[in-house]
């Protein structure tokens, strides 16, 4: 109701409400009432045209929003039209929408930008009163959020009376979420943050193993707990089983079927590599209550409500509080209903996380979503977008761009660089150079070349996907997509599991993999990359507090009580550190000398920290390390004796020279190269070709890697290249978080322990297969002792 009033008063802001709390109406009704009021005041029907744009990050949600909007319109007796415009909308439908706009348009950030790439867009938007950005918390931490910021900056400028409203679930940086959406309006008194006050009740139940492994191993995907999960499925009408990776999803699906063949036909799988048609079928079947269970990944985190779903199972650590709440919320949709979520640990230490999650939910310790800043790739794309449609004058657009949160710190010189990038191609115009993208006519930047315009429209967007190959039956029916590198590991006749089916590879044609059904029970499971997220800092903070509870003998949480034998062994072999202590363990085994640190700060921070510590020790003595880490700690392993006491005296954990040491120890080039892949695609450097027109464009194909090399060699101050390094430092390495972690460690008392063998804390890190190396050898010398990867023939 507060939102109704604020909206009718012409204010802007954010409504903070959990999913499924009638938030659609909170903003849509006042927009309708506004139109009715206008009609009453003026005495005539307002001119027809677009009045509200509703932006949602997920196409799957558009239908639901459309339905609720239509109900509200009917209820108020208006004759408004509601339409959806997304990547799935046909070209003719889209053209019709431009000629005859609906009153309410439901769309995505990408489609909003495509509208800005349309001729006469100011005319299309001229009656727009309200812009609603749904699920803003989802967009905020991504470049799609930047797209929204840029789109709004343009619309605010051409429509002075525009109201902007966001809808967001609770996040750790709610005020920042408002600032980012509002841009230069953030200090104006028309901006409001409205909290719904509705809190969902969530019950966290850990599925406890009968016996605790005192030396936990992280490798078995939790399958041991299978027999405890089957009865949970039996109890509930419909259950969602969330896995963290697609591979884990495939394996759980397969094993559940084996454990309870009765589930056949009543259980399905849902992950982002499965074809759209198959996923839609699963979603509809869930909706209609036809499915007893669905094994899924984050692909079902968001989206429409499935009312029949009564129970949620989470396999393994969800890595963050917000994600866990979101998943728990996929059950119990009736207002006031309890959402029950079962947590299934994949190794025993994860039980402590369950206790931490419960407390974090209770205290509402929810993660922040860090907005992107200074994303030059998105800016470059946006400038071309404006040049493709109406053209733009730099002074005007500079003002608008600078008004956003993302580009608040951009300098005139940097903006100039972006302009040159699209006008002269970065270099000063040489006589014979034929660089063509944007022309400058009378001070206005415009695209006149039809090919450039077409290529731009086809490659807009900020979501960059891997090169995917389609999996089809020989008969032609689509099953889904899989990364190219997985298929290259297989040869015809090989069996693999995908979408819950056993498939035999028949042949590979261009970008299509032809398969047939197989009866074989054994096969490879594609292990998709990207499943290794770090624990969030909010969760690690509560987790550290939970360990401290154990030290103080507080075993109220059932999970901690269950873990007691593990803690006892840890204490017996080494030390169980309290809040004020930082544990370091050093011991020798057949493998070599192990040095372990336990900051409990999440994988990424440990990755950076490991490299820095290895570097600092290697400055004291000539030594080489391999480094392993998990979310709890990190290990330096060396064939030689590690002078840990000497290193500690030499301020091993100091904050001094941290930035320099990071640069010297971390393979920043490799990290930046990986970040550059998306940047090159977003900024239009890499063109993937038109569907069906590959032939003509093949001379324009290239890779981001190539550009990374070329810029590094010939244009080292290229802003897109620098952006890649910034992203690597801030997002990949989390330099800020790393600094805070070291600061905290410096306030703790260091406890150096010499256990006789691996401790319960050390074991899961030691068996982790991913290892980094720190060494100062010359590349040529290394090549001489490395292994070549070969085909065994």
């Amino acid at each position: 109701m507060e939102a109704w009033q604020a909206c009718l008063d012409g204010k802007s802001g954010i409504v903070n409400a959990p999913t499924g709390s009638g938030k659609t109406y909170s903003l849509f009704i006042p927009a309708l009432l506004e139109a009715i009021r206008e009609e009453k005041v003026t005495g005539k029907t307002p001119e027809r045209g677009l009045r509200i744009i509703w932006i949602t990050p997920i196409r799957a949600l558009t239908k639901e929003i459309e339905a609720s909007a239509n109900r509200a319109i009917e209820g108020l007796g208006l004759n408004w039209r509601v339409e959806v415009r997304s990547g799935d909308t046909s070209t003719s439908r889209r053209a019709k929408q431009i000629r005859n706009p609906p009153e309410l348009l439901i769309t995505t950030p990408e489609s909003l930008h495509l509208l800005l790439a349309t001729k006469d867009y100011p005319k299309f938007f001229r009656h727009l009163r309200t812009m609603v950005v749904d699920e803003w918390h989802e967009l905020l931490g991504s470049k799609r959020g930047v797209q929204v910021e840029l789109g709004l900056s343009r619309l605010k400028s051409i429509l002075p009376g525009l109201k902007i409203w966001g809808i967001s679930a609770t996040i750790g940086n709610m005020d920042e979420a408002v600032q980012v959406l509002m841009g230069d309006w953030q200090h104006s008194d028309k901006v409001k943050l409205i909290k719904s006050g509705i809190k969902k009740k969530i019950e966290v139940v850990s599925v406890l193993p009968d016996e605790i492994e005192t030396l936990p191993w992280a490798g078995h995907l939790g399958i041991k707990m299978l027999e405890k999960v089957v009865p949970i499925l039996k109890e509930s009408e419909s259950t969602l089983i969330f896995c963290n990776t697609r591979a884990q999803c495939e394996i759980w699906y397969q094993k559940l079927l084996e454990a309870d063949p009765g589930l056949a036909g009543q259980m399905a799988m849902h992950h982002s590599s499965i074809s759209r048609e198959l996923r839609t079928w699963v979603e509809e079947a869930l909706h209609e209550g036809k499915l007893k269970a669905v094994v899924c990944t984050s692909s079902l985190d968001l989206g429409v409500d499935f009312r029949p779903v009564g129970t949620i199972v989470q396999i393994g650590s969800p890595k963050g509080v917000a994600r866990f709440i979101q998943r728990a919320g996929r059950s119990g949709h009736q207002p006031g209903a309890l959402s029950k979520i079962y947590f299934v640990p994949t190794h025993s230490l994860e039980l402590a996380e369950a206790a931490a999650l419960r407390e974090a939910i209770e205290k509402q310790e929810i993660e922040q979503r860090i907005p992107f800043v200074r994303s030059f790739d998105v800016l470059v794309q946006y400038l071309v977008t404006l040049a493709v449609s109406e053209g733009f004058y730099p002074d005007q657009v500079f003002k608008e761009v600078k008004s956003t949160f993302c580009y608040n710190s951009i300098s005139e010189a940097e903006f100039e660089w972006c302009l040159n990038f699209i006008w002269t191609g970065g270099d000063s115009l040489a006589a014979y150079d034929e660089f063509r993208k944007v022309d400058v006519i009378g001070g206005m930047y415009r695209v006149t070349d039809k090919g450039v315009a077409l290529r731009h429209r086809l490659s807009m967007g900020t979501i960059v996907s891997d090169q995917m190959m389609q999996i089809k039956y020989v008969s032609g029916r689509r099953i889904g997509n899989v990364e190219e590198w997985f298929i290259t590991q297989l040869k015809p006749g090989d069996i693999f599991w995908f979408a819950g089916r056993s498939l035999e590879l028949v042949r590979v044609r261009e970008m299509t993999v032809q398969v047939r059904k197989s009866k074989s029970k054994t096969g490879k499971v594609p292990s998709w990359q990207g499943g290794r997220m770090p624990l969030s800092s909010e969760l690690t903070a509560v987790l550290r507090a939970k360990f401290d509870q154990v030290v103080n003998g507080d075993l109220e949480d059932p999970e901690l009580k269950k873990l007691l034998p593990l803690f006892e062994l840890q204490e017996q072999r080494s030390i169980l550190p309290s809040r004020g202590e930082f544990l370091i363990e050093y011991f020798k085994s057949k493998e070599g000398h192990h040095l372990l640190f336990y900051p409990f700060e999440g994988r990424f921070v440990h990755e950076g920290l490991g490299a820095i510590l290895a570097y600092r020790i290697s400055k004291l003595v000539p030594i080489s390390f391999s480094i392993a880490m998990n979310d709890y700690g990190l290990e330096l392993l060396s064939p030689n004796e590690i002078p840990i006491e000497k290193a500690l005296e030499a301020n091993l954990l100091s904050l001094e020279n941290l930035s320099e040491d990071i640069r010297a120890s971390v393979n920043a080039v490799e990290m930046a190269r990986r970040r550059f892949r998306d940047i090159a695609s977003i900024s239009g450097l890499v063109f993937k070709g038109f569907p069906g027109r590959e032939k003509k464009d093949r001379h324009l194909q290239s890779s981001s890697q190539l550009f990374f090399g070329v810029f590094s060699d010939f244009e080292p101050d290229n802003l897109l290249l620098l952006q890649a390094y910034d992203e690597a430092m801030n997002l990949q390495l989390e330099e800020g978080r790393l600094r805070l972690a070291l600061k905290r460690i410096n306030e703790q008392k260091i406890r150096l322990s010499y256990p006789g063998s691996a401790t319960p804390f050390a074991f899961p890190i030691m068996v982790d297969r991913l290892r980094e190396r720190l060494t100062s050898e010359k590349l040529e010398d290394r090549i001489r002792r490395m292994k070549l990867e070969v085909i065994k023939s």
């Binding site: 270099d427 034929e434 063109f687 980094e772 290394r782 070969v790 085909i791």
Partner: protein, 220 residues
Amino acid sequence: MGKTIQTKLRGQTLILSSDKAIFWKEESILVLADVHLGKAMHFRKAGIPVPLSAGSDNLQRMTDLITGFSPLRIIFLGDLFHSFHNEAWEQFGEWRAGHSVIDMDLVIGNHDILPEKEFSRFDIDVYDPHLVHGPFVFSHEPSDEQISGKYHMAGHIHPAVRLRDQGRQRFKLPCFWFGTHQGLLPAFGNFTGTAIIEPALEDQVFVTTSNEVIDVSTLL
């Protein structure tokens, strides 16, 4: 001409240069694959802002190879020029005129889309799909077809191999690859990518770094 390594193939001496070229000693022939001249300009014309300087030292590197090896003949294994006509072709023409005593041949590659008269303008003999000389067949694309028992030399692939160090570190380096019946040259051009190949145990592989060419066959 960079650092070199010498190898024997079909009784002939081949000198592999870290600058991604082969010098066939007995015949005094320099072999280069996939130079991709004009590519940067071609991209720029389509609105893709490759720095103009990318690939600009290709001609200088070719001059250095000529100075180092004094070849009588150069065979380009395709993709010499990656564009329709642009200014970079004229620059190549000037370079060609400066080395007029050297015979130059081109086996046409898939990116060589210039009309044939452009090649004859600069005194370059064109072959399609291959050129046979001594025990070798030179072509752009590799082929499993055997031509009267001769050894096949090709480009097109831009071959590279992955080297794996202990732990997680992996490197990708351009390479020369010699199988039983055919071999591949690394792409010479600076503005070119690479494709990973997976050699068989009996193959010979030499990787190039910016300073050296290294035999890694023993690491297989």
